[in-house]
Symmetry: C2
């Protein structure tokens, strides 16, 4: 997840001020609503040394009435705490109904420093993940909304901050040998952190990653994330009341009108662009390859891939290549070049349309399980199981709970495939809005390609910002180190096709190498 974060993102002072005013007013209202409606919220902050957890916590608290929340600093375990099971102190700090609790650090300490310092032995890590997920599931089921922030900074930024702190005698005490050691092992800690974030990113308790390089955008992002969570908590609490009420009505066989006229304080007028944390806008779409070079390179890559195909077959390794991307981004063309010289007995292209009636009658991943390739075969998916968090999310074909849950369901499915030994390559084929328009227009005006463009494509285009939110969140939450996304810059088709071929080749070679197979 961390590698997705745009650390260069800034927010202007003017935008910041105007957003902050409306957010603060809104949060004040929400705090009162949480108390009155007996919702409950727990906000925790984790992050790198010098990421600014303390400062950001201070900023996050400002909009709230201090009589309505509690703050806990979670330090090293005390004598009292060491004499109890690990989660003991956290249970007593969970909010009661109507309360908001903030924690500076949390039960994740043991999975970060605890693990790095080998206080938590590696053999106990998977149990600790399990305990953590159970704990959070129980909090969720008992009606507590959990907001988990991880504040991210780069290694370079951390070094700069450590050096600055060391310079001034007023702050030098904050930097000890420990901080420098951890800084030296930034990359190791990064890997531990990624694993921890993915293992504990669930539909009910997702992580929110904060850009720690810019205080203003960090603050705005945190406050708006909290506002959304508080709204949800209040709504879920009401659903719960409605559920109890419904049970009551059913038991008493006395139907009455349902009260759905209550509403929450007005929606925030925030543009989602201000809240983007891993923006697709930063992708360098100017990348291109001259046609002549393309013509020379393509056949070579295709030839190489055919050799690889035979090796996959011989070694009985299944491969899954997944294509997602904007309409008219060139998925079809890329798939054509990818498979052109493959042996047709060993691969299949599987186009994914809207689910059929039979498919709709099953769990959403059912149809993807059923077409999983045999060992030694390659399955190329033209659109995929990510439809759940893209089109189904944007068009409202499923409930928010359903697509929020789908990230971890998908991660789980992919990890079963990978554990079985499959190679998995996932492409997001990316173009910008201008390029899409050019391609739409050119299709419209070309009698031979008019069929390629429909009314629906134009309608989808109007929802570009909603789709962009969905794509960015997908790239964030389904990008574990073992099954990463490859974003393909596709304004130039030749560049895109070559990158797709190279990526599949490299992924296969890496898999062969990991198995000690020479090719």
């Amino acid at each position: 997840m961390l590698d997705q974060i745009d650390l260069n993102k800034k927010i202007s002072k003017e935008a910041y001020k105007s957003i902050l005013d409306s957010l603060s007013a809104k949060l004040g209202e929400l705090q009162r609503a949480v108390r009155e409606e007996k919702a409950s919220v727990l906000v925790l902050l984790e992050g790198w040394d010098t990421a600014g957890k303390g400062t950001l916590l201070g900023r996050a608290l400002r909009p709230f009435d201090p009589r309505g929340f509690k703050v806990y600093n979670v330090g090293k375990a005390s004598e009292e705490e060491l004499m109890r099971p690990y989660l003991w102190p956290f249970w007593s700090k969970t909010p009661a109904k109507g309360q908001i609790v903030f924690m500076n650090r949390s039960w994740y300490r043991r999975l970060l420093e605890g693990r790095f310092d080998k206080i938590l032995p590696e053999g106990d890590v998977s149990e600790a993940f399990d305990e953590t997920r159970n704990f959070e599931r129980q909090l969720h089921l008992s009606g507590t909304k959990l907001v988990k922030f991880f504040i991210h900074i780069s290694k370079k930024e951390q070094k700069k901050r450590l050096e600055e702190l060391s310079k001034s005698s007023a702050s030098a005490w904050r930097v000890s040998e420990t901080e420098w050691t951890r800084h030296k092992h930034y990359d190791d800690i990064f890997a531990l952190t990624e694993e921890m974030l993915h293992a504990t990113d669930t539909g009910a308790s997702p992580w929110s990653i904060v850009n720690g390089h810019d205080e203003r955008s960090a603050e705005v992002y945190m406050l708006s994330t909290m506002a959304k969570a508080m709204e949800e908590s209040i709504m879920e609490n009401r659903d719960d009341l409605l559920f109890h009420k419904k049970q009551f009505l059913q038991n008493n066989a006395n139907p009455s009108k349902e009260n759905s006229s209550e509403t929450l304080p007005g929606k925030l007028g925030l543009s989602t662009a201000d809240l983007r944390i891993n923006s697709l806008d930063n992708i360098d779409l100017s990348l291109s390859i001259p046609k002549s070079a393309y013509k020379k390179e393509l056949p070579k890559l295709q030839e190489r891939l055919r050799e690889i195909q035979y090796a996959l077959y011989r070694e009985r390794i299944p491969a899954v290549v997944a294509f997602e991307g904007w309409d008219a981004a060139g998925k079809g063309g890329a798939i054509k070049r990818l498979t052109e010289r493959l042996d047709p007995r060993g691969y299949e292209v599987i186009p994914i349309a809207s689910p059929s009636a039979v498919e709709l009658a099953h769990y959403h991943l059912w149809r993807f399980w059923s077409v999983f390739p045999k060992a030694g075969h390659i399955a190329v998916f033209d659109r995929t199981w990510y439809g759940r968090v893209l089109v189904e999310r944007v068009e409202g074909f499923c409930q928010p709970e359903e697509w929020k849950r789908a990230y971890s369901e998908i991660n789980d499915m992919e990890s079963q495939w990978r554990r079985y030994g499959a190679i998995l390559v996932k492409f997001w084929i990316h173009i910008d809005q201008d390029e899409q328009l050019r391609r739409f227009e050119s299709r419209k005006n070309d009698p031979e390609r008019q069929w390629k463009i429909t009314e629906e494509d134009w309608r989808n285009r109007e929802k570009w910002p909603l789709y962009q939110d969905a794509v960015e969140e997908m790239l964030l939450r389904t990008n574990p180190p073992q099954a990463p996304w490859t974003v393909v810059e596709a304004n130039n088709k030749e560049h895109a096709r070559v990158k797709v071929l190279k990526t599949v080749i490299d992924a296969s070679l890496a898999a062969f190498k990991a198995r000690g197979i020479r090719i």
Copy 2:
């Protein structure tokens, strides 16, 4: 769980016939309702070799219209299946909405024979449990009701059946070296099975253990369990529709009347006694100790326990002793004898009453976490966290989903305590109804002890059968090998008190031994 099952339980031919008639009619109706209301149900059968899975599956199918269900036999993985991840074949066999699917064996093969035969390496077991739980959670969330039967027989019974099968040439082919090898390792497989049952017994997909010694009672139990599950599936499916409807109404701000007049086919007139699988009625309440022997033994045991208390303190081992039992069973008296000679600085008796307002505002286990004893200390609970699945279940203080979920929540909490190193002893202090009445009457007539008996005690007594169901299910589902229940026969108070002391002493000595500590 298996050790709780009463394998001697039989049902009379007459009772069987009359129950079967009404059950069969009911199941036919439910099958139609499942189809019409687009619910879906998956029934799987696991069990020992020769437990009678095939026969019982045949019996379980009889009430159903054969056009309305599918049956799968899950054998060894086929060539096709071996070329895919383990769960692949099961996904394609899950029922669509409106369908009922039966499986003879299931994805649990890998956790039973697969593990015994070392096809599943021990290092992969916890991942396999994880995959299984995720798979079942996803089925549940997508609206499929899962009914999991494990058919239990004793080692002796298995031997008898294997010998009988071997005798006849018509059936001898069914018994190979494999079956005999597994029979020889009955105890090892028993342990693997227990672990598997506990790890995958969840609120949404609990295990139902079937007494394989008596076909008639097995059949009645299975059919009624399926009937309940089908009812629940239909109701949950409706809840889901109601949820979507409610969302729709909220979005459209157009409140209308809720339709709650639909009802299910009439309730079954089954007495729960017929369905008991681990009956408290079998406990030998005639056990007793002469007063003279008691007077001699008690001080010795108390003295021994005090030595143990100091050892616990020295070794910083926390101990939790939990008391549950019928009203007037003698919990207070047993606790008094247990603690009489202990050093008061090292133990605490914690009486658990109805939750306070603060406690009610938190997760139900919150208050028990907060009083967990320090390392080296002993906490004695007079009533416990099991209130959730006893009084709160029976009195309707929580939703069925909540108490059903609580078994695994409690197992999880206790396993965290145990992993931390705590000793955990759990007592169910048991008397029968006649003995309770004698004690109530004697209290009523004794001016000095009248305060001990209230109107509520008499009211609870009227609900004895409901409480008995709850106690039996609690003993079944929260009895993992690492944290077993001790049922104390308490019609004779002296016997009960001595057994309590001995059990705590033995559990402590076992913990010392496991740590290599001599006392």
